[in-house]
């Protein structure tokens, strides 16, 4: 199925999800006291901004037909390492350079593994995630929680401050989403990414530099992960490396798929990610207001994801004739 065809469809997953989001939002506004206030909406956005930042990069990666499961491990380890270096007395810029540089290095490694060694992205990044966490814990950081140093300066504002009443994390999310959306839609790199995701072999034959584009894609993903990590760490005054063990990375995929970006690549856009993020944010915020327990939230979240992929199946049906080997 080509993009042109799917565009022509009247009912897309994005529209459905957006409709659900609107319904949910209206429902909560009517029945949940204290939901529809400017402050709560800002809060709602703030609570999903780290998730959103990660999802935007993940969305772009998935559009290019790849996936990056190492983002959360990378964000935890690179930022924790940088913070620890500052705590140990290193100047902030140098420590940030080292942290960000190591993130970029990991991104390049991911890209090389996927593009040149041709390891399926799912497993390449799954393995690098284990390596990043393992190496970080074994060689760099001996403690789960690295506390935020006091002398971070403006960087600390990433998670704390507010501009015109909007929390900084939301602004970071918005800026990154806009930037990546522009890149994906209006630059050669972005259009190449779509072409690769749509059909890697065809893109290659057509002359698209498939391998460099993929490496770049993973590098971008790594940089975004580092930024997300800074936002997360400055917001909660610490970076807990055990965040790697949580289901966060799966929630990122949930947001992306929920928004209607097909896992097979080439379809959707950053807008879908934003819609998915909004739905999840509304949902989580409502759940928290309703005082619903964490485990129950997880179960409900699972059901939502299931619904999303079921809708995906209805809209983009796959059967025995169209399925490809290794497309899981």
């Amino acid at each position: 199925m080509t993009r042109a065809v799917s565009r022509k469809r009247l009912i897309t997953q994005e529209k459905i999800v957006f409709a659900i989001f609107v319904l949910l939002f209206l429902g909560f506004s009517l029945f949940l006291p204290g939901f529809l206030t400017a402050n709560n909406v800002a809060l709602l956005l703030q609570s999903v901004s780290v998730l959103g930042i990660l999802s935007v990069a993940m969305g772009a990666t998935i559009i290019a037909g790849a996936i990056d499961l190492s983002m959360v491990a990378l964000m935890a380890m690179s930022v924790a390492w940088a913070l620890q270096l500052v705590n140990n007395g290193m100047p902030v810029p140098l420590a940030m350079l080292i942290g960000g540089g190591s993130a970029i290095l990991v991104g390049i490694i991911n890209g090389v593994l996927v593009a040149y060694v041709e390891i399926p992205p799912l497993f390449a990044t799954l393995a690098t995630a284990a390596c990043i966490y393992g190496f970080g814990r074994f060689g760099l950081i001996s403690q789960d929680t690295v506390y935020l140093p006091k002398n971070l300066g403006w960087i600390a504002e990433l998670g704390h401050g507010r501009v015109y009443g909007l929390p900084m994390p939301v602004i970071v999310f918005a800026v990154l989403a806009a930037a990546i959306a522009l890149v994906m839609n209006y630059t050669k790199f972005g259009r190449f990414a779509y072409a690769i995701g749509d059909n890697r072999a065809t893109a290659r034959i057509t002359g698209v530099p498939v391998r460099p584009v993929l490496v770049l894609q993973y590098t971008v993903s790594a940089i975004v992960a580092f930024i997300a990590g800074l936002v997360q760490a400055t917001a909660i005054n610490s970076m807990n490396t055990r965040i790697t063990d949580t289901l966060l990375i799966y929630e990122v995929i949930l947001v992306v798929v929920l928004g209607g970006i097909g896992l097979s690549g080439g379809k959707g856009g950053i807008r879908n990610v934003v819609v998915g993020t909004l739905l999840i944010g509304t949902f989580l915020n409502g759940m928290t207001i309703m005082n619903i327990q964490f485990t129950a939230q997880n179960a409900i979240k699972g059901l939502i994801l299931l619904t999303a992929i079921a809708i995906d199946q209805v809209i983009n049906p796959r059967d025995e004739q169209t399925s490809q080997q290794g497309d899981i």
Binding site: E118, P120, F123, C131, G302, L305, I309
Partner: protein, 727 residues
């Protein structure tokens, strides 16, 4: 080879056989090395299916060796016993994962299902005090049901396996947490007293931990399931290509669903054993197990995306992963080391999987070819008018039969009613009704590529079918297999019991069928490569219809091709194509078992040999030698380099585009040679059959049969009468 001396005396050389005089430096050493070093073995080992398992096996040995060195005390009795129990549990989960992956899916929910099974087992024992006989099936069924949900969603509703099982991972884990919150305290308070329960958790069978024994039993069962049952093949087929499986009528949806049910059930069984061992009602069992199981399966060499894998591989992978986990703990390394090592190993394993296995055929085809030293005397010169091979244009007036309707009639033959039979590339036996042979009809369909043909006393047509073996076609057109396997050679690495390239045959008066198999190393499509090797890898096989036995009687022949039983009924002539020679083998009489040379140093590559009406023999030369290839045959390294560095289309092959027919006497004297000098009517000849004063020509690359009228031949002579008498 016996009685070379006799052969010397018997064979009358058609031309003085000069050994090539100009030798290149160290040619003797090269020859010696080619004779001593069995270089073809490497390629043959690489071609074995089990080489796939060799990588994880080597890895496993390395890991064990490593821990023997760095963590002494790791392999003490108690640790091995505990490790065996853990392997029992983990191996079961990995086996389930392996089956799912082989079916083209993935199951990330195994860890959560495992936790669910563990909870169920503990709740049923400690809380409800059920008997073990009821607990075990209940646990397995509940977990199988969880797998069924996965299976229905993925198999029947075609949802994505990765995401769907991810959802199961999250929701089932949440469910277990909720249940634990409710029951954890009561579970820890309960006490369950059962000998069977204790046996499952801590017992031994013949000194082996119970769970290990369970694993072995289940592993054998799954191995048999995958390799010996229809359903197991369906799993492989679906994993290999979902579309093809669907199109051949396999119920893809049911098969896929089934793999998840099996995976769930196995996780349940593992959880039951785990619960019996530890009674751990905490919330963490099975956390992260999906990654470990996945690593085990991939490290073992099961391909992502399906279609390739085995029980042995999954078990080796499990051992590797478990060993590393346990070893890192034993060494007391700082946490993170385990993840780091496993992550690196997973990367390495997938890289090998992707790089090596995907390119294995390529590597194999390069490595498999193993040319050897082969020296031929200088070829007789057909340009010399005095030579018995001298060029002429006797075949220039050949009339054609079935032009354009045939494709690859390697051999031709006549029945007692003068009807003409030949094979073709589509696997048919085509019959042209005599006497005008205008109309060709498919007489029988066998498959493969029918090559040599021969009638037995009862008029049953025996056919050598390339790629299939020896078949026979009854007069009513019914085809059946005569034999397709012979005794396996004791020290052969490749399995040479199957027929790969049965070529030509003849039938002795007692009904025994002697047929040549040109090579045991190559197939119908790749046989020209055998010419580049010039290694003796062909054989002559005898099939006895009376006893229905098949035995190999002569080995290590260089592309044995034409076979012709001599009128005496005690010997046969056989031609070896790349060796350019004809030999006689005595299968009965005083010289039984002996081989003697009849003609050496032919100017071309001999193919079929058949009787002539005047008591001599006709022989087809399918192509002529060239000095360049003759020289190349003395340079095995040159040919190997050529095979490695040059595309197969550009290789130096023997010419098989233009040949001729030779008539020779029983003692090897060449009487005459028939050429199609202008190469228009019938230049490519692989066989000829004399029938009632004419010679009928077949050619494996031709689209026709040729008929050449012999001037002074007996117009009533038929081969059938010559073999079986007038009827």
């Amino acid at each position: 080879m016996t009685s070379m001396d006799q052969a010397e005396t018997l064979a009358t050389r058609p031309a003085a056989a000069k050994r090539p005089t100009a030798r290149y430096p160290f040619e003797g050493l090269v020859k010696l090395r080619a004779r001593l070093v069995p270089s073809h073995i490497l390629g043959e080992i690489m071609s074995k299916q089990w080489i796939d398992s060799a990588v994880p096996a080597t890895f496993m040995v390395l890991v064990i060796g490593l821990f023997l060195i760095v963590a002494p005390g790791f392999f003490t009795g108690a640790n091995i016993s505990d490790g065996g129990r853990q392997l029992g549990e983990f191996g079961l989960v990995a086996l389930g994962m392996m089956v799912v992956i082989m079916g083209g899916g993935i199951d990330l929910s195994v860890g959560s299902i495992f936790a669910l099974g563990n909870f169920t087992a503990l709740a049923l024992t400690n809380l409800f005090d059920w008997p073990v006989a009821a607990v075990l099936p209940c646990v397995v069924l509940i977990c199988a049901f969880a797998g069924l949900i996965n299976g229905v969603l993925i198999g029947y509703f075609r949802l994505r396996a990765f995401l769907t099982t991810l959802v199961s991972l999250i929701t089932i884990r949440a469910l277990v947490d909720v249940l634990l919150l409710e029951f954890a305290v009561d579970i820890s308070a309960g006490f369950y007293d059962s000998a069977i329960w204790d046996f499952a958790g801590a017992g031994d069978v013949l000194g082996l931990p119970t769970s290990f024994v369970v694993l072995v039993v289940v592993a054998i069962a799954i191995h048999l399931f995958l390799s010996r049952t229809r359903l197991g093949w369906h799993v492989m087929a679906v994993g290999g290509s979902r579309r093809s499986a669907h199109n051949v009528g396999i119920s893809v949806r049911r098969t896929v669903c089934g793999t998840y049910v099996l995976s769930g059930a196995l996780a349940g069984l593992a959880a039951f054993l785990y619960a019996a061992r530890l009674g751990n009602g905490g919330s963490y069992p099975g956390a992260g197990m999906e990654i470990f199981a996945l690593t085990a399966v991939i490290v073992g060499g099961t391909s992502l995306g399906g279609g390739r894998g085995s029980v042995a591989k999954a078990l080796m992978g499990s051992i590797i992963v478990l060993m590393i986990n346990l070893g890192v703990v034993q060494m007391g390394l700082q946490s993170g080391a385990g993840q780091l090592v496993l992550g690196l190993i997973l990367l390495l394993a997938i890289a090998i999987d992707v790089r090596f296995i995907r390119n294995r055929e390529k590597i194999l085809s390069r490595l498999y070819m193993s040319p050897t030293y082969f020296s031929l005397p200088e070829a007789p010169d057909a340009e010399q008018p005095a030579s018995s091979y001298a060029l002429n244009d006797q075949l220039g007036d050949v009339s054609l039969i079935g032009l354009g309707k045939l494709d690859g009639a390697e051999d031709v033959i006549f029945d007692a009613q003068d009807n003409l039979y030949c094979g073709d590339r589509l696997g048919n036996i085509v019959r042209f009704d005599g006497p005008d042979y205008q109309e060709g009809k498919v007489f029988a369909h066998i498959g493969g590529h029918p090559l040599g043909l021969a009638f037995d006393r009862a008029g049953v047509l025996y056919v050598c079918v390339g790629g299939m073996g020896l078949y026979r076609v009854h007069p009513d057109g019914r085809a059946e297999k005569a034999t397709d396997q012979t005794n396996r050679s004791a020290f052969s690495i490749i399995d040479d019991s199957r027929m790969r390239l049965a070529d030509d045959l003849d039938i002795a008066p007692d009904g025994r069928v002697f047929f040549s198999e040109a090579t045991t190393r190559y197939d119908m499509e790749t046989w020209p490569a055998d010419a580049l090797e010039s290694r003796g890898s062909g054989r002559i096989v005898c099939y006895d219809p009376a006893k229905n036995t098949t035995r190999t009687i002569l080995r290590k022949l260089v592309f044995p091709n034409g076979v012709c039983v001599e009128p005496g009924g005690q010997s046969l002539l056989f031609a070896e194509s790349w060796a350019c020679r004809v030999s006689r083998y005595w299968f009965a009489g005083p010289k039984e078992g002996q081989v003697e040379r009849v003609i050496e140093n032919l100017p071309g590559y001999p193919d079929n040999v058949n009787r002539a009406s005047d008591g001599n023999y006709w022989m087809a030369l399918m192509g002529m030698r060239s000095p360049a290839l003759d020289l190349a045959l003395r340079m095995p390294d040159f040919r190997r380099r050529m095979a490695l560095e040059v595309a197969p289309d550009e290789w130096l092959y023997p010419n098989i585009n233009a040949g001729c027919i030779v008539k020779f006497t029983a003692d090897g004297k060449v009487l005459e040679t028939l050429w199609d000098r202008h190469a228009e009517n019938h230049p490519m000849i692989t066989s000829m059959r004399e029938h009632k004063g004419a010679l009928y020509l077949g050619g494996i690359l031709n689209n026709r049969i040729g008929k050449h009228v012999l001037k002074d031949a007996d117009p009533n002579w038929t081969a059938g009468a010559s073999y079986w008498g007038q009827r």
